[in-house]
Amino acid sequence: MLKILKYSFFDLTRSRWSYVYFLFYLLLSSVLLFLNNDLSNTIITLLNVVIVLVPLIGTIFGVMYYYDSQEFTELLLAQPIKRKSIFLGQYLGVATSLSLSVLLGLGIPFALYGLFQSNVIFDFLILIVVAVFLSFIFSALAFNIALSNTNKIKGFGYAILVWLFLAVIYDGAFLIALIYFQEYPLDKFTLVATLFNPIDLSRILILLKLDISALLGYTGAIFKDFFGTITGSIVSLGVLAVWVVLPLWRMLYVAKKKDF
């Protein structure tokens, strides 16, 4: 598996898109640091970009990579290699290279700005953790979509829909439900509904760490109220991990059953 991971990773490091993605974050965080002149504020601004953009790029990139390497995958399938190793290796290659782009793109400007001497290093760390989690979650979802759809156009369509649903529509529908049922006690519902969306979960995780109650919103406030800051963070991290494991498990299951 490590060899496949190595090849996928190096294949991606040669791809133009990895650099575009990396340079985008590099530029964005440099500009934000320059304009804000403050690490904390920049982290909050970046949070809003990261939780929308990382899932988008993760799904699109994942689907694109899978379809692009289909031919090579078939070549590999005839070799004496376990199926599981092939797909796990490719998935980890994509997820790691995406994570690395974010890590370096955000990390370099922050490090140069003096992150290590400041007291917000843990806030920054949690931003990176969230970005890495989202990269892993959404590339796993992308691989699931691509494996289940031989038709590329359909695959891309579903990928965009999944992103749109979790990043935009979910919150809207959720808000409408809250307004509509405002007469009822909605705490539990809110709590559970948040767990089902990794993007919401990531947002809450960072805001809990930053301890900005003004930005927490209804869901975050309930989360904090119910779990407290520490337990809340642990629960959301745990659920994010489940969000990685479940799609990954399904991906390997589908890959095992699939005919090539």
């Binding site: 090849y7 294949d11 070799q79």
Partner: protein
């Protein structure tokens, strides 16, 4: 010895294989023939574990191919359509597969034999169909495995390369390798194979030597004998 036992496979409503029983003898060259879409490639893919049969079992020696991958160490497989990732070079893909399999190789020898030396630094997407097939041949034959599966090995090859391929395969036969081929070039099949298995409507319709085929169909010409098999069924 490879033994196919009652292999069934359908893709949705399309029943491709409906009970294939077939034995491939060690050290012999068996040709799997059949009309387009008769499931030759599917049968090979099931043997390699790339497709899963709905029913039935394949035995290689004593062990089954199900939930097993290590038996592929002893198989060289030439896929039908040489689709390679386009953005890597010929020598890179050879190095990659070598690294993945970690077995003894004879790639240098084959590269010289198929005159691929000048193209080692060319990207695969820039190669012509015939050269892609040559790369395909090098990739699949370089491990010198005792069991060789060739799915349409002749496609895209010019007459000279075809002769070279035949010579190479004859050498492999002399070395006692088991070879399984599919091809639509009947002269090639006739020249190279000891045994014919004809698949029609998802079953093995004829299984025997070329001479047996000729005497069954009462044709003296191999190509006509095959055509006869097809015609009589649909008459």
């Amino acid at each position: 010895m490879v033994e196919f036992k009652d292999i069934h496979k359908n893709f949705g409503k399309n029943d491709v294989l409906t009970g294939i029983n077939l034995t491939i003898q060690d050290g012999k060259t068996t040709a799997i023939l059949g009309p387009n879409g008769s499931g030759k490639t599917t049968l090979i893919k099931i043997l390699l574990g790339m497709c899963h049969s709905n029913k039935g079992d394949i035995l290689i020696g004593d062990s089954t191919t199900k939930n097993n991958w290590s038996y592929r160490k002893n198989i060289d497989y030439l896929p039908q359509i040489a689709n390679f990732p386009g953005n890597i070079k010929v020598k890179e893909i050879i190095a990659m597969i070598k690294d993945l399999r970690h077995q003894k190789t004879r790639d240098e020898e084959l590269i010289t034999y198929f005159e691929l030396k000048p193209y080692l630094d060319t990207k695969l997407s820039h190669l012509s169909g015939g050269y892609k097939q040559k790369v395909n041949l090098v990739l699949s034959l370089m491990f010198d495995s005792p069991f060789v599966i060739l799915d349409e090995p002749t496609s895209g090859l010019d007459p000279l390369s075809l002769i070279k391929l035949k010579d190479l395969l004859k050498k492999e036969q002399d070395n006692g390798k088991t070879i399984l081929i599919t091809s639509h070039i009947m002269s090639f099949v006739e020249e190279i194979s000891d045994h014919i298995s004809f698949i029609l409507d998802g079953k093995v319709y004829f299984d025997g030597s070329i001479d047996e085929l000729k005497s069954t169909t009462q044709e003296t010409d191999f190509e006509y004998a095959i055509a006869n098999l097809l015609k009589n069924d649909h008459a």
